[in-house]
């Protein structure tokens, strides 16, 4: 039976627990922050207006999830939520590689050549993983995190469903659609292992009952993703390649640094401003 921590104050009494907890919440918050930043770059560029409304609504909710998680860190005395989102150094971010990748070539303002097939598959993979992770977090030893997970999960149900609808529709439409989805699966698979990595404190995260192991999350993910591919007639890519370097240790791509600079540009002009 693992010990439960009911409040931020209780967690703050135990330094080792606190350090492990902070590491995990940064992973959760930074994943949501980066995937929403990539989602926000699609605004106005989605295939049709209904999709623009839907995708931006999902993105807004997900940014709300990130904000809620940064506020948990604020309650744990780590710093102000807005500062945590905007003012850390690139190597202090803990998101997975998959969520930081660009949407395609070009810039969203100039010649964006974004790949909606990749948007569908990357988001489906992330939301499926997020659902599995949220289910596990509902049993977390840090009770405020378990409550937050329950809350997020109610909204997130619709996000996962949305990307599933696209797969169901497109996988049974044209050869071109099938081909593009299969290419997108290959591309997503280059980074998919980054999701299951719990970082340098992974063992403690599991021992403290904060979250189940990366292997367990991976197994559930693979089973469900594989079933979806088989039902859709898409090509199951098999075991993903192991990671060379990991975002959970703060190692990120150049694309990430660009994204972060862009994301925090306005906030950095005047961090004291009231929004």
């Amino acid at each position: 039976m693992v010990k439960k921590y009911n409040t931020p104050e209780e967690a703050k009494q135990d330094q080792q627990y606190l350090d492990t907890l902070k590491e995990l919440i940064f992973q959760l918050a930074d994943d949501d922050l980066l995937i929403s930043h990539r989602g926000s770059e699609w605004l106005g560029l989605a295939p049709h207006i209904e999709e623009d409304v839907a995708y931006s609504s999902i993105t807004q909710n997900t940014m709300g999830h990130a904000a809620m998680l940064y506020e948990l860190l604020e309650e744990l005395g780590v710093g102000k939520a807005d500062d945590l989102a905007h003012l850390r150094k690139p190597e202090e971010y803990r998101n997975a590689r998959l969520v930081e990748r660009v949407n395609g070539t070009g810039d969203y303002k100039e010649n964006p050549d974004y790949d909606f097939g990749y948007a569908i598959i990357r988001n489906y993979a992330y939301e499926l993983f997020k659902k599995i992770r949220l289910e596990a977090l509902q049993q977390s030893s840090f009770v405020p995190l378990a409550d937050t997970a329950r809350k997020i999960k109610r909204e997130q149900y619709y996000h996962l469903y949305h990307w599933e609808v696209w797969i169901d529709q497109l996988a049974h439409s044209t050869d071109e659609a099938q081909k593009r989805l299969n290419n997108a699966i290959q591309k997503t698979w280059e980074d998919v292992a980054s999701l299951f990595d719990l970082g340098p404190k992974g063992d403690q995260i599991v021992e403290y009952g904060l979250l189940e192991s990366g292997e367990m999350l991976k197994k559930k993910f693979m089973d469900q993703f594989k079933a979806k591919m088989e039902n859709s007639g898409l090509i199951w890519p098999g075991e993903p390649q192991p990671l060379s370097e990991t975002g959970r240790e703060g190692r990120h791509s150049e694309e990430f640094v660009d994204a972060l600079n862009h994301l925090s540009e306005v906030y950095k002009m005047d961090p004291q401003a009231s929004w």
């Binding site: 807004q60 809350k151 909204e155």
Partner: protein, 162 residues
């Protein structure tokens, strides 16, 4: 909220009842099922609200509106609004009055059965027909979807069940 309120706490509740959802101006925060608790200690009032959607930009406005409204009460000098994590907001928290007022605003109230059990049946808020189809799960705000009524041919919005 089922506890017995002091007379000052009742005044606070009456003021919170006057605060409307800024994006659905016919429905108050209480009718939306967002009020968790009210406490008055001396001249300090604490209002605990249950946030609807986490990314909802209206939450900040609601907080300011509650502070403003409750501050008007004689005997209250300080107002603290707290968004609680537990309980979580579910669409079945909307009160019967709230459901009626949503319809007046042209928004269908959420179905009362759980959303994970399959398709939901939504009544058109204009003509009451159930011959409606989902047009977009996502609508103009985080909490709403867009529907179309095949009977009266009106598009309308519905509160998403969560």
């Amino acid at each position: 909220m089922s506890k017995i309120l002091s007379s000052l706490e009742e005044k606070v509740r009456d003021k919170v009842q006057e605060v409307k959802d800024p994006e659905i101006t016919s429905v108050s925060l209480i009718e939306m099922g967002m009020l968790d608790d009210i406490e008055v200690n001396g001249s300090k009032a604490t209002v605990k609200l249950i946030p609807t959607y986490l990314g909802c930009p209206a939450l900040d406005m609601m907080e300011k509106d509650v502070v403003k409204a409750v501050s008007e009460i004689d005997g209250i000098d300080e107002v603290d609004v707290i968004f609680v994590k537990d309980p979580i907001w579910t669409s079945d928290r909307i009160t019967p009055e709230g459901r009626e007022k949503l319809k007046e605003f042209g928004i269908a109230p959420p179905p009362l059965h759980a959303h994970e059990q399959g398709a939901w049946e939504i009544e058109c808020p204009y003509c009451g027909s159930t011959r409606t189809v989902l047009d977009n799960m996502f609508g103009p705000t985080a909490c709403r979807s867009i529907f179309y009524c095949n009977k009266c041919k009106n598009p309308f919005e519905a509160i998403k069940p969560v």
